[in-house]
């Protein structure tokens, strides 16, 4: 369908953006790549009276390695997340996740910031930033702040962003060279949203897992950290036994929705299979 009518304005700075946002309280929507906003308007899921294009704000652009973290600007498109050498080196889970996000042409427009701000529970990047223990940089009328990914995704399409606030960047802590990563998902067709997906990283010392960070997506209203599975791995070598223990403990971490066509127990089973796969990928990585 054609879009309902709206007013289109460009913001050149965050200040201008929230000024324009506050003028039509509750009825304005920020526009980055537009690849969630535009289809949802075409489907009449929303009909804001004003779209504020924030893509021209300089602070949302660029990928820079800083002292302790890689700063990835919110306007970084999925295709760049997939190809950028700094992302591949310092935030490999995002680079590994990107080819699973939608189709090539969507990736040319969709942005990392828009994807995280939307917080679709079936989306790949939110789980990747959770597993990477990244921080989300937010700016608003009250100032700027960093929110750990663990505190950012609150509920279905609900994040720590207050109305009018802008997600400016993602900060990924620079990893030690020895850290291993894996990302995978099970989807019906290439480019489809996943039935279940997982992002994982681990630190190994002398063959022992000293730290593990694992996040699942498409398993509920938000991406979910698999705390019990992490605990089952830490202090053990990456072996068939420890993987089986982690798989068994997933029932404590995940409480998937009971869909008539896709019962909770089946999704949990797929999550176990997937956990086995990603841990196995880590083991076989050089």
């Amino acid at each position: 369908m054609k879009l309902p009518a709206f007013e289109y304005l460009r913001a050149r700075s965050p200040e201008e953006a929230w000024q324009l946002h506050s003028e039509v309280e509750g009825d304005a929507v920020y526009l980055s790549g537009g690849h969630s906003v535009v289809p949802s308007m075409a489907l009449r899921l929303q009909a804001p009276s004003r779209l504020i294009d924030i893509s021209g704000i300089a602070d949302l652009h660029g990928v820079v390695a800083q002292d302790n973290a890689l700063r990835i600007g919110a306007m970084t498109r999925h295709a760049e997340v997939m190809d950028n050498p700094l992302v591949a080196r310092h935030a490999p889970l995002l680079a590994l996740a990107a080819p699973h996000v939608a189709h090539p042409a969507i990736r040319n427009r969709g942005t990392l910031g828009g994807n995280l701000a939307l917080a679709d529970p079936a989306s790949e990047f939110p789980a990747a930033v959770l597993a990477l223990r990244a921080e989300i940089e937010i700016i608003g009328p009250e100032g700027s702040r960093h929110v750990p990914a663990d505190e950012f995704f609150l509920d279905l399409y609900e994040t720590a962003l207050a109305p009018g606030e802008i997600l400016t960047a993602v900060h990924v802590p620079l990893p030690p060279a020895s850290r291993v990563f894996a990302f995978d998902e099970i989807a019906r067709r290439r480019g489809d949203y996943a039935m279940v997906g997982a992002a994982a990283q681990a630190d190994l010392e002398k063959g022992m897992i000293v730290d593990a960070s694992i996040a699942f997506f498409s398993v509920g209203f938000t991406p979910v950290r698999a705390k019990a599975a992490q605990a089952a791995l830490i202090g053990a070598p990456l072996s068939r036994e420890s993987v089986a223990r982690a798989q068994a403990s997933l029932a404590e971490d995940l409480d998937p929705p009971d869909d008539p066509g896709f019962p909770a127990h089946r999704r949990l089973q797929l999550a176990r299979v997937l956990l086995g796969r990603v841990l196995n990928q880590m083991e076989t990585r050089p």
Binding site: Y8, G34, H35, V38, P39, P104, A105, I106
Partner: protein, 172 residues
């Protein structure tokens, strides 16, 4: 209220006042008469509307015309006129890779972008690149064939050009 948009479409600078709700596809089709860009689903699912924006394929149904400000747009008409996709078109024709043709302009955009990145893609890579392009007629097999054949022909042409220039250098 209309918004003034400056873009370059198929090499020609265009300045036009558009309503914000117009998609880039509507703008190309209705305002510029470039109807080679097709509209199927108008929600990003079918790929009939793909055009090149700043050299990369995008869904013209999901990009607002106002978002093309300052950008360079190439449609199937432009790529046909310059001959950039002439070999792809010929291979699609030879291999019967189209029936109704509704999906074809979108297929050509994805194929052109894939071959620019990867001169000799595998069949799997071709299918991956076409994951957002629906064809309701052909069953895809012939489309994959046509793209693979074009990739091979382009790679062979580059190789023989390189060999020729190496020979000239050697002769000098």
């Amino acid at each position: 209220m209309k918004v003034l948009v400056n873009t370059k479409v198929n090499g020609t600078p265009v300045q036009e006042a558009v309503t914000p709700r117009s998609s880039l596809a509507d703008f190309l089709r209705d305002d510029l008469g470039l109807t080679g860009t097709h509209l199927g689903c108008e929600m990003g699912a079918c790929g009939a509307c793909l055009v090149l924006l700043d050299g990369a394929p995008v869904h013209a149904c999901l990009v607002l015309a106002v978002q093309a400000e300052g950008g360079t747009v190439e449609t199937v008409e432009g790529l046909t006129e310059t001959g950039a996709v002439a070999d792809l078109q010929e291979n699609f024709h030879d291999r019967n890779a189209l029936q109704c043709g509704y999906c074809t302009s979108g297929m050509l955009m994805s194929a052109q972008a894939l071959l620019a990145r990867n001169a000799a893609p595998s069949r799997d890579e071709i299918r991956d690149a076409l994951s957002g392009n629906y064809c309701r007629c052909t069953g895809y097999e012939a489309i994959v064939d046509a793209i693979a054949a074009t990739g091979r022909a382009r790679a062979a042409a580059t190789e023989s050009a390189q060999a020729a220039s190496a020979n000239t250098e050697a002769a000098e």
